[in-house]
Amino acid sequence: MSVRMEKVGDTSMQLPLVNMSPGALLARLALLLIVVLWTIPTFGLFISSFRDKDLLAVSGWWTALSVTERGEAARTGTDEDQVEENGAWFIRGEVFPAGEKEVQAFGIRSTEPETWAPGESADLGDGMTLTVQADGRYELRSPVEFDMNRGRRIYFRAAVPPKFTLSNYEEILDTEGVDQAFINTFTVTIPATIIPIAIAAFAAYAFSWTEFPGRQLLFAVVVGLLVVPLQMSLIPLLRMYNQVSHILPFFEAKSYPGIWLAHAGFGLPLAIFLLRNYIAGLPKEIIESARIDGASHFQTFTRLILPLSMPALASFAIFQFLWVWNDLLVALVFLSKDPDQIVMTSQLRELLGSRGDNWEILTSSAFVSILVPLIVFFALQRYFVRGLLAGSVKGG
């Protein structure tokens, strides 16, 4: 590749922190601003995914640590709940479980939810009074026996303390099939990474260190295939898969082997190109001495070339893994949307369409889907960068 990636990750040139010029200070502030702007969207999603789903829709994630105020409504009990004490009748209860929120004001009309402060007695006429305490307990008092089969409406403004929860994650794993999609994605990704690498490594070795007629020409064709965008392949392959599945009863048009091979096909030109460059650059003496010692090409390859090529294999493996993991197009074409085949990206898109207003489902699903790439990213950053750069010319 063009750029020596070894340099990435070196400690940067140190400038003395003392006596910072205004220009240097400005540069720092500018960088800080950019970094904050770049991080905010992801950070917002991360915070949102741990917020209570009722809070999510009524207050921004940036207020997650502050108390939220919102209007709510509840109904009192009916005449069946009343008790008589000292010649008056009472209906008692709570508008929400104690401790969850705090009532700041209440009223009896939806248009005037803040008529009385908590603890005040609201005069409802005919001697009837209503008191709502800050902790949510209410008391409806009447001098005569209640006769109502529906409870009275209480409107109130509540202060909701910050609340973080894992329930969004529990919900998607239990009911939205995200756990299955997660497993499916691995089922697609692991073979779709290993198969092209192995096939490409064998081919790269043959192109580098063996003699066979047409070697140069075939390699040129492989490199030429780098220019073919993935879109060029989809329609004929789709037709081909459908036709074959009609002829062969055991072959399904949408299947895991089908998508493994498709990903292998789309990844092969780049894999062969990169691995051949690496393997052809290995020292000639080592390979020749192995051959003179009587090792066949197969033995030379498995015992010598493979271990020596590990850095190149690892870089490409990371690239291909992330590419397949993050792919949506190939998955939409070669897999069905049934629960046993749908992958994370596809599932996420379905949720965006069908559950676009269920923000809590979106947040946690998105985070589950980007979790694996982020782990790979932070754990293997150096190799990741190398693989990504190597793979940046991928035709697909």
Binding site: I190, L226, V227, G265, L322, G356, W359, L374, F377
Partner: protein, 331 residues
């Protein structure tokens, strides 16, 4: 648990079958053409014959897969672009003519051109600025990691992240929270004519800037210190040094970054599909092709659109591959 087991069985099956081929075919070759031991007192090895066949066992699977998954479909797509929606009847240039009168096609071309101008430009500018700034501070590497992070996220994942920035509800969407904070009615930025495409482009810029930054940062470190020193001695200030000394020397890398992002842009599909699905005049070529393939089931027209993408991508790819080959040769 059972699902996990199924997945593991499938993975082992797929990978195992491939390894079985390589080991099995080599084992078979050794069995079918064994050394014949001493014949008339001379050791007869058939290694030469075996080694004539073995390379084909190595490249065989690659050639078959490439043939089936790239060569054949590419040729087939070219043919299908002259056929009708079922891919059955030859219609000549009908799909090509249809495109000229298709407002969706014209809209896609227009949008793609906008994407091609703005996404690479802003990615490169941001990437360059960050690379320069980050090299001057002690926490530069952390800054770079955070800027680079979106590269790891899928386009769909990124779309969800930005859905939360663009949402109309000012209690969800950060942008509208700021906008309504100034006393305005909240708006759906994805429906603002013309400008909505730019809000989609911003997502791709957000992703690609990290890529540009990493390459440009590495290139900047390759700029010889003496040239910078000489400029400073001659009285050039920081800005002049940057534009007249540094930028010209990394022009090659800027070009690489530019072309690579151009190719990404030409094939961008997931972001548009997930955010607007091409509504409100945000359609782009790759999504239009997908739309024709899976919703209209128009094989001929979709093939034509794939061909348009291919024609746009090829010249840039050829330049990039030439350059890579040249650099390989120099190594």
């Amino acid at each position: 648990m059972e699902r996990m087991l199924n997945a593991i069985v499938a993975i082992v099956f797929g990978v195992g079958l491939m390894l079985l081929y390589f080991y099995g075919s080599n084992w078979l070759l050794d069995r079918l053409l064994p050394d014949q031991g001493l014949v008339n007192g001379v050791f007869q090895s058939r290694e030469k014959q075996r080694e004539r066949i073995r390379p084909w066992l190595f490249v065989g699977p690659a050639l078959v897969i490439l043939g089936v998954y790239l060569v054949y479909p590419a040729v087939q797509t070219l043919f299908l672009s002259f056929f009708d929606s079922d891919g059955e009847a030859f219609v000549g240039l009908a799909n090509y003519e249809r495109a000229l009168g298709d407002s969706r096609f014209v809209e896609s071309i227009g949008n793609n051109i906008l994407w091609l101008i703005f996404v690479p430009t802003f990615s490169v500018i941001f990437g360059l600025v960050i690379a320069v700034l980050a090299d001057r501070v002690s926490w530069g590497n952390i800054a770079k990691s955070l800027i680079f992070m979106p590269m790891a996220i899928s386009f769909v994942g990124a779309s969800v992240i930005w859905k939360f920035v663009y949402a109309i509800n000012p209690d969800i969407g950060l942008l509208n929270a700021i906008y309504t904070g100034g006393g305005n009615e909240s708006i759906d930025v994805l429906q603002i004519p013309f400008w909505n495409s730019f809000f989609l482009m911003l997502i791709l810029v957000w992703i690609q800037t990290g890529f540009a930054m990493v390459l440009l940062s590495a290139a900047l470190r390759g700029v010889p210190e003496e040239t910078l020193e000489a400029a400073r001695i001659d009285g050039a200030n920081e800005v002049q040094t940057f534009f007249r000394i540094m930028v010209p020397q990394i022009m090659g890398t800027i070009f690489v970054v530019w072309t690579t992002i151009v190719i990404t842009v030409l094939k961008v599909f997931d972001i548009v599909l997930a955010m607007t699905n091409g509504n409100w005049n945000t359609q782009v070529m790759a999504n239009l092709m997908f739309d024709q393939m899976f919703r209209a089931f128009d094989t001929g027209y979709a093939s034509f659109l794939a061909l348009v993408i291919m024609v746009a991508v090829v010249p840039i790819m050829v330049v990039n591959i030439r350059r890579m080959n040249r650099e390989e040769a120099m190594r």
